[in-house]
């Protein structure tokens, strides 16, 4: 087995696979490590993505990636008031299992080497510099050498911390999630539903994302400061009992979505972070797939150039970090502030906002409009929000 590479990427989800594909295309030798036995499994994701976002990366979107095309959204307030929105933009609910496997296959077709059942357990140093990764393969430690390591190891990332980057998420700002894929349920398969309020999912929201004519990813996230005795799984069982009484779950998964303040430093000497490992999901919506791909494309290019030039210092890797903070990173910072504001809304605030939104035309009910409506009608909230934006 070959053990020397230019770039070693830990984690073969969308962020890692796309970084690998981009770097390999630019001429670097790339090793892509996956701790699980299969790329793309288990799917810890609601699988929703905007068409516009995917088209930023892919000229053509293979139909096999798409479980459902979504044309509408429904926001349900604590008192049950439902606000339907039909924006111009379409969305998709993906088959992440197929999507992730295809991305990894594309990386391999481009020349990257993929190794599954390979759990990274630490960095290797030589002359005070990062020089590779120690990996547990079938219970045995194996060392892979390379001057540049990229952490794409997801929400549970440790790679950054091994290199001294502070990536731990404050627990109050972690949304703790549970999701079931329910079958045989009565839904509108073209509409995604969101439920907000203390009764559904305190500090987060519940979602229904259609996967088929009569099946959907049904889940929720509870803010880490609200969990107490009742687990997110228990909250989800309560939600399902009310929304889909008697339904059966085909799968149940757990997971965490950081909704914390975005981190600034995502590169250091010989090391980069991408995707959830770099806390790149949107802190308001929890969406992370498109951001991971955008970051991966940028990281892959910068990484390939760095190894080709023989300089993998933080300075040489900085164009990636700068591009991130100029682009999607900027949106995440704004979204974090919006999240802080929205989470201060009481159930009564949310109910009143929903009533007001019913007066806005259906095609104008964008997230921004929802927020604007809330503020215009509740000047008291404006003061709260102003505090957050001014600080």
């Amino acid at each position: 087995m070959r053990t020397d590479f230019d770039i070693i990427i830990v984690g073969a989800g969308p962020a890692g696979a796309w970084t690998a594909k981009t770097a390999a295309e630019a001429g670097a030798s790339v090793l892509l490590l996956e701790k699980d036995r299969e790329v793309g499994v288990p799917v810890r994701c609601a699988e929703g993505v905007s068409e516009k976002g995917l088209k930023l990366i892919f000229d053509e979107i293979p139909p096999r990636w798409i479980a459902r095309t979504i044309t509408g959204g429904r926001l349900v307030a604590p008192n049950g008031t439902a606000v339907d929105a039909y924006p111009d933009e379409r969305g998709f609910v993906l088959h992440r299992k197929i999507f992730d496997a295809d991305l990894a296959a594309m990386a391999v077709s481009t020349g990257a080497t993929l190794l599954t059942k390979a759990n990274a357990i630490g960095l290797v140093h030589a002359d005070g510099k990062i020089a590779g990764v120690t990996v547990e393969c079938l219970g045995k430690p194996v060392t892979f050498h390379g001057p540049l390591v990229i952490g794409a190891d997801g929400v549970e990332s440790r790679v950054g911390r091994w290199a001294g980057l502070e990536t731990a998420v404050p627990y109050e700002e972690m949304d703790s999630c549970a999701q079931m894929t329910l079958a045989g349920i009565d839904i509108d398969p073209t509409v995604v539903e969101f439920y907000v309020g203390q009764d559904w999912a305190p500090g987060g929201y519940a979602w229904v994302f259609p996967k088929g004519e009569d099946s959907a990813n049904v889940g929720l996230g509870v803010g880490g400061g609200f969990t107490g005795e009742k687990t997110p799984l228990a909250w989800l069982e309560g939600f399902v009992a009310r929304r889909f009484p008697g339904a059966s779950a085909v799968t149940v998964v757990a997971g965490g979505v950081p909704t914390a303040k975005p981190i600034e430093t995502i590169v250091t000497d010989g090391l980069m972070l991408v995707g959830d490992a770099a806390r790149q999901a949107n802190p308001l919506t929890g969406g992370g797939i498109v951001n991971a791909l955008i970051a991966g494309a940028s990281a892959g290019q910068v990484a390939a150039k760095a190894v080709a030039g023989g300089d993998v210092s933080a300075k040489a890797l900085m164009p990636y970090q700068k591009a991130w903070h100029k682009g999607e990173g900027k949106i995440n910072k704004l979204s974090y502030k919006l999240k802080q504001a929205v989470y201060r809304f009481s159930d009564a605030d949310l109910n009143r906002t929903a009533e007001m939104l019913l007066k806005v035309p259906e095609n104008k009910r964008t997230p921004f409009q929802i927020f604007k409506t809330a503020l215009i009608n509740e000047p008291r909230l404006l003061v709260d929000v102003a505090k957050i934006f001014i600080v």
Partner: protein, 60 residues
Amino acid sequence: MSLSIDYDRKRCDFCGTCVAVCPADAIRLDEADLSIDEDRCVACMACVAVCPLGALKEKA
């Protein structure tokens, strides 16, 4: 120092949410295993707060 957290492997989904919030980097996750390094654990209970399935509990 003995570990102040009870871990129930049967409840665990190996999602890694606990790893992300551990300020001491004391939790190691494998494909279907989790271990807490008792020498590193600072008993802050952040992992207990975010475990989606109740697999981590404060020791009584």
